[in-house]
Amino acid sequence: MSIKFKFSIVAISLSLLVLNACRKYDPAYVSETEEWFSGGAQTFFDETITGFDHIFNGLSPAEELAHEIGDKAFDQTFVTAPAPLNSGLGPIYNNVSCVSCHVNDGRGKPPVNGEALSSMLFRLSIPGVNPHGGPNPVPGFGGQLQPRAIAGKSGEADVVISYSTINGTYGDGTPYVLRQPVYTLSNPYTSLPSDVMLSPRVAPPVFGLGLLEAISEYDIIKYADPSDADGDGISGKANRVWDVMSRSFKLGRFGWKAGQPSLIQQSAGAYNEDMGVTNFIFPMESSFDQPQYDQLNDDVELSDSLLHAVAFYMQTLGVPARRDVDVPEVKEGKRLFNQIQCASCHIARHVTASDMAFPSRSNQKIFPYTDLLLHDMGPGLADNRPEADANGYEWRTPALWGIGLTRKINGHEYFLHDGRARNMTEAILWHGGEAESSKEKFRNLSASERQAVLKFLESL
């Protein structure tokens, strides 16, 4: 081999090395391999009924114990006080345990075939705001309807749900039918104001929330465009809500209207309002100024450590891995999902903030498919009830990860805030407001293209 040839080889190798070294790091780059790992390092390859119930990897033994204590507390059934075990249910309430609504850590549903109202509740308010800018509670009812009560007390009212049908047609002429819910309050224990506003909510899934909590506020706000400055028809607005523990306003992240700033406040609120179990964040019975109030000197009914354990349990629930990422129809569905701009709000990828105090959820590349911001979803979905900065048309973009396992893990496919959609297609077809254009594009896809979009969603 000549000296000249050897020199050429060395020169070419060095050039390649330098060129590669100088290539810019692209933080938005997503490899196909990464797409399987919806929850980053906290992704679990489990398609069974336990798919939403996996403890984070990398926890210390003490953290694992806290998670397990929280897991058990999540399942505990509360009973009428005084009782030696799980005392403090009610006096008025929606359900008896966390798991009764979040079955298998998943999604609730509206009552079906004459069932009682179980994993769905109704928020109430009247015009105006509370001292912290939140919903104005209804005198005698508070901020949430509790239809159930312990012995000797009255539930606040019953809700009758009926549906009317709305006929529609896809661009290719194929007909479809949606159902529009109508809610009627009956048997109120006392008269309700005529201007009461009602907001139906089914229980959302609780897995992966710790990762959503770990996204930095900056990384959420950067997608906000409340006045639609870029003119793409999609705004995205942050909710600012009252944080009870820090006594300050914070970014709302959790709940259908992003009305809660943290998982511990979300959990404490659910214990208090949903089960009537008082705790250090919400120490006053939800029935305090009502005739149902129990007058017992037993508050707080949930220990501080148990509340922290339940919040920690939710903070450390992992995310199911995607399925069929490499199937051509799924890839095509993803392409269409992006093309029709679903991904403008259902933002696929986020990176959680660096957090030395909570390394298991620090700096994780995750794929929740949400921007955690509020969007006007049009009059069809509007509850016409404001919640802090969210108006009556706005809803927070829900995460889509794990949605394809809903049928298996929760036994149903009722979607949207009130479960009116009986499958994913109906959920898409209900999109309006800022999402009207995307809905229309979906409606005008061919049958096989629509099927590809659904296959993609089922793979999440």
């Binding site: 398609e47 069974t48 009973v79 009782a83 298998n104 312990i150 893990i409 036994g411």
Partner: protein, 350 residues
Amino acid sequence: MKPFYYLAILLVFFGSACRPNEAEGPRENYQQVILNELSFNLFLTSYSTLENRSETLLNTIKSYAANPTQNGLDLCRANWRATREVWENSEAWLFGPVSTESIDPRIDTWPVDFIRLDSVLNSNATFSNAYINSLEESLKGFHPMEYLLFGKNGNKSVSEFDARQMAYLVALAENLKQLCSELHTAWSPQVGKYVDELTLTGPLKLYPNKLSAYEEITNALIGICDEVANGKINDVFINLDSMGEESPFAKNSITDFTNNIKGVQMVYLGPDPSGTTGLVDFVRTFNLSLDARIKQKINTAISALGQITDPFGRAIFTQPIQVQNAVDAINDLKTELETGLLPLIQVHVK
């Protein structure tokens, strides 16, 4: 033909023989046979048996309510235990409709809401299946029935039953029967079709392949071992708090735990260990020592529970070594299922 060609043909032949079997071969077919056997002849059959026993329980409670005698009460208690036995076995396959339709909490919630129960019994309400359906989970299912049949100390006499208790018991038994029927129907082929889903022939395609069905079954086995060792037993044991004990009135807790682990054994050995098919047949195809370990650990767990001779609520104080041994043995079994059985399935089932 030149020797070179013979060599080439031989190489192609051996090369093909060593290639992984991509098509459905006898081994894959047998995995389907095991899945069908467990689904139809263990899971579905167990819910049929549960329904039948709950009906027998209902009939004996009705007879006892009409004619309260000690023999009648003994029969009710025996049938409560018999129904509970199948239920506890079936907790080893606690997936599908029992979970997604929230049948489990309506059948088996602890604790009982005693204050509410007293209030209900003292009310003027007409007790019926519909009335029980409208009540909370803590007022229906096995445990309120157990409380009323056995009494707080397990020695309730016939004379302590009043008409309201009798009427409530009948309504509870009707409700239990209805829930067991719902469960059986939800699994039945051509009706609820869950058995079709699990055997990969259902319309919803809940399980896209055998692996997903095998994983469901195995995760349930791991789940019940965890629940028994670290929940049902250890929560009560480490807190020395007998209030958390399930089935305290019938003093049936150790039997419940044992029946849970026997449920694991049924899945592993098959519905009838003497001849039918279970996960054992899959494991033995690949790993005889794993098979021996799983069998031994199931037996150890069952016999460790058998060493607890006092009622569980007392044994946490009087027999702590035996209780700890049982926890350890069940956790040992759980670990074997997690680290031995599940990975074997994930490698060999497609």
